[in-house]
């Protein structure tokens, strides 16, 4: 069961990578990166169950937070850069 879900996540990760490689716009890449982060959270959680040690969920939890924080940080960075370029 967990193996099947892991395989699904891996397949989805490969597809998200395709979008990250292809772009074309900057926002497509941010979207692909953010979506990849969500999949990593799920993958790490599933890996804990797969190896019979779900204690690894702490890392998945940390990831869920960091992924969000870094997406917001990246977007803040662009809003700052835009305001500087316009000025």
């Amino acid at each position: 069961m967990f193996a099947a879900a892991t395989a699904a996540i891996i397949a989805a990760m490969v597809l998200a990578l395709v979008r990250a490689f292809a772009g074309p716009s900057l926002y497509d890449r941010i979207l692909a990166g953010n979506s990849f982060g969500t999949k990593t959270v799920l993958l790490i959680g599933l890996m804990g169950f797969l190896t019979g040690r779900p204690d690894f969920l702490d890392i998945a939890l940390l990831y869920a937070l960091i992924n969000f924080a870094s997406t917001i940080a990246i977007l803040r960075f662009f809003s700052y850069r835009r305001s500087r370029e316009e000025a």
Partner: protein
């Protein structure tokens, strides 16, 4: 667990998939000229490598990779990008046969060396049987920490770790000071920065 199960457990396929994706991302990073794309790919690279560290049971390294690799370093690299162009300059690829030969030879030697290494998680390997076992036996009794890795890092290796933490902190502060990035001035609105810039421009004129 028999030899057969070790080889054909789903974990092996998971590791192979993760390593293949790491490889693909690394190649894509090398080939891309679009700097922002490279930064996003490096974020994905560290997400993947942290997942791989979890698969290797190196939970503490995975924690660090998650916090530093996926979080801070992406932001730092973007701040660096602020100071440079958006695209890498096209470069005529040079041919260096000697360098290629050296790289291939080193790679082959490293591959050859892995044959002698103990199997992953082998309880009889030198790393696990000598000093390592001693720490595992004593840590639980000597230090009231629920997690052995934490107790070793914070107590037996206390000075070492404290030094590391200070070095990393100092380096981070230094990088932030050098870049002087406005987005790190902490909780200020874009409009404040615009107002500042307007004030600066007024002064300059």
């Amino acid at each position: 667990m028999t030899e057969f199960e070790t080889v054909f457990s789903p974990i092996i396929f998971l590791d192979l998939a993760l390593l293949t994706m790491l490889f693909l991302v690394a190649i894509a990073m090398l080939r891309s000229r679009h700097l922002f794309g490279v930064v996003m790919l490096s974020g994905i690279y560290s997400l993947l490598s942290a997942a791989f560290f979890v698969s290797l049971d190196a939970v503490d390294v995975a924690f660090t990779e998650a916090a530093v690799g996926a979080g801070i370093s992406t932001v730092l690299m973007l701040s660096g990008m602020l100071l440079t162009a958006r695209r890498e300059k096209p470069k005529t690829p040079g041919r260096a046969p000697v360098a290629l030969l050296a790289v291939l030879a080193t790679g082959a030697a490293l591959f050859y060396a892995t044959i002698d290494m103990p199997a992953f998680g082998d309880p009889n390997s030198p790393a696990n049987s000598a000093v390592g076992q001693d720490y595992v036996d004593r840590a639980a009794g000597e230090i009231p920490m629920p997690n052995i890795v934490t107790s070793i890092l914070a107590s037996y290796r206390g000075f070492d770790t404290m030094g590391e933490v200070m070095v990393i902190f100092t380096a981070g502060v230094a990088v932030m000071l050098l870049l002087g990035v406005g987005s790190m001035r902490g909780g200020r609105r874009v409009s404040d920065i615009e107002a500042d810039d307007a004030a600066d421009n007024g002064k300059a004129e």
